[in-house]
Amino acid sequence: MKITGAKAIIESLINEGVDTIFGYPGGAIMPTFDALYDYDKKINHILTRHEQGATHAAQGYARVSGKVGVCLVTSGPAATNAVTGIADAMLDSTPMIVITGQVGAPLLGTDAFQEIDVVGISQPITKWAYQIRKAEDIPWAFARAFYIARSGRPGPVVLDIAKNAQIQEFEYEYTPCNFIRGYIPEPEIDQDLIQEAAALINSAKKPFALVGQGVVLGNAEVELKEFLEKADIPAAWTLLGASAIPTDFRLNKGFLGMHGNVSPNMKTNECDVLIAIGMRFDDRVTGDLNTYAKQAKIIHLDIDASEFNKNVKVDVPLLGNSKETLPALMAQIQPAKHTEWIDSFAEYDKQEYNKVILHEVYPEEGELTMGEVIHKVSEATQNKSVAVTDVGQNQMMAARYTNYTQTRSLITSGGLGTMGFGLPAAIGAKAGAPERTVVTYCGDGGFQMTIQELGTIMQENMGVKMVVLNNHFLGMVRQWQEMFFDERYSFTKMKNPDFVAIAKAYGIDGTEVSARENLDAAIADMLKDDKPYLLVVNVEMKGMVYPMIPAGTSVTNIILGE
């Protein structure tokens, strides 16, 4: 039967199992929105208030569910508004498909109204970008797009669809894609290298594992735990690897990097074999590469061959999905005990607890701190909530002080560091995991970057719990100004609106807290039901995220406070 291209787009989405999309209509995508009108039983379209919001929502949805996030927006400014989210998904390996409308094929290249070279703009920030100029290409391009977005190292795909292709009628037939010549998403494991890596691990006295998002993307959390337990290997996680292993897991030694825990950073430069699993040695993790883990033999497990030796020279690269490489490696390693080595982390943990955590999480006097708020919210949700963060101090504090009991529980913009990510990503996370409590932690700065998404929450009545950690400053920038720019607070102070009143205008309940004695009750009020809620907490104005490793310095150069 002949159908229009617009209908074929929706049918293709359904063929790929899509039931939720995030979007915003406009001129060049109107035929597709018109077709969508007849599919309200099959596809839940969430209307965001800005295309950037749609992309972050799709990211939050994908990150929490493991499914491909889908956005549907129009051409020109809609596409450029989507660019930030596309780039964010690229850096954080998030499976996402962004469908942009485009002017009709005869108008391409003529500077037509709302025409922009979307494929050209998105090529550096997508896994694949393709322009569909005729309806017949729709099933093929969609099948390919989904395969590319979710296989191998996931990432964003842009499909730019000319208006005429949405209107044309053609014989629709859908064949899923599972092979592209020249693209091998899951390469075969090299058994020789597995042997080499196993030999290193078997002879290690002080092995140490670094856990990245690759474990989560490969659904290899169980395999990871078994691997670590068998050889008794302490492990620490990157920002995007957070929650891959539970906080209370015996071998979990905490958070890596600039604002990570002291012991895993120090031990990076003491271990003898470093096993990096699905992580990419980001500069926020490694600091100065010239002094990074020089004493250690390095084994790197990754699905992306271009990550090997990109930042850190690797002794044994193990290409493949961690779901496959970890069990392969585990089969070759001997059970071991590294009690003394593992116990040696405790001294640093104690130091950090006394110098940082005690004051940040359990202050008895003074103004409220970000750390205590996050710790309390995490506990009040039985440590089962999904924490969605914005970027900056709120993000680092959330990563540090959320207790993780299940995977996919921290959703944050790691690679791109996009302020304004938190609120829309939380909307997507709630859509992707409606049964879970979703809490977003935002600063007063980032919250205002995408504050319009309160409208989406209102319209969809999404039970997103919003915690604004208000210090009346762009806190992380202020922290750097204090530490590295002689306390010259250049344009970081913020005069803020009455956030609770704004929420109220959107029909969203909320409250503002400044005193410690009111915090527990306010958190309980926020969590009493599944409705949206805004909790504004006025925290200390000049709070600092410690520990801190100044950018570009050694991972052992840790500042614990004044």
Binding site: G120, P124, A129, K310
Partner: protein, 180 residues
């Protein structure tokens, strides 16, 4: 780190925008492309890019992996000059009257192994194939004696001396995945 001239060979699908996907990888690292040549390869539907860049081994390795990672790239690798048979071609346009004033051009034709592609009362077009240094030497000689009205040199084309045919191996290897 020592820089060197590397020749990068890329085999790709014949789709729109591939060149842009490749060049942005160089742009990001501010690497200047010295020469670039694109053409259909021996295998139908597969295009071959030959790119030369002056850079370090460390950088060229990373760049090649990042090119190889693109979905529509079939295979990407790099070589140094020792591994390759390579060639460039150049065309030179000079004024006929100045050329005739020289008396004889036989030595040029013999020494540079050049050909004449076109000749009329106003201009003569020479063609010379060779390595960069060779086509440049002929340019210098022409410039100094009769002057060159127009000059164009192609990008490098190259064939590996390797006994292993990487693209063929790769395509055979792919069949395993296709049938899996």
């Amino acid at each position: 780190m020592e820089t060197k001239l590397y020749t990068i060979t890329v085999f790709s699908e014949n789709t729109v925008g591939l060149l842009n996907q490749i060049t942005i990888i160089f742009t990001r690292r501010a690497i200047n492309i010295e020469t670039l040549s694109v053409s259909p390869s021996a295998i139908q539907g597969i295009h071959k890019f030959t790119i030369t860049v002056q850079t370090t081994k460390d950088v060229v390795e990373k760049v090649v992996k990042q090119i190889d990672k693109r979905v529509d790239i079939l295979k990407s690798y790099y070589n140094t000059d020792e591994d390759l048979v390579y060639q460039e071609i150049a065309l030179y346009k000079v004024a006929t009257d100045k050329l005739l004033a020289l008396g004889s051009i036989e030595n040029w034709i013999r020494d540079h192994n050049t050909r004449i592609l076109e000749m009329n009362e106003t201009f003569v077009v020479f063609q010379k194939a060779g390595h960069y240094e060779e086509t440049q030497r002929f340019f210098n000689e022409l410039s100094e004696s009769v002057g060159v009205l127009q000059f164009i040199r192609s990008g490098r084309v190259a064939i590996s001396k390797s006994k292993v045919e990487r693209l063929t191996d790769m395509l055979n290897n792919l069949k395993k995945y296709e049938n899996a």
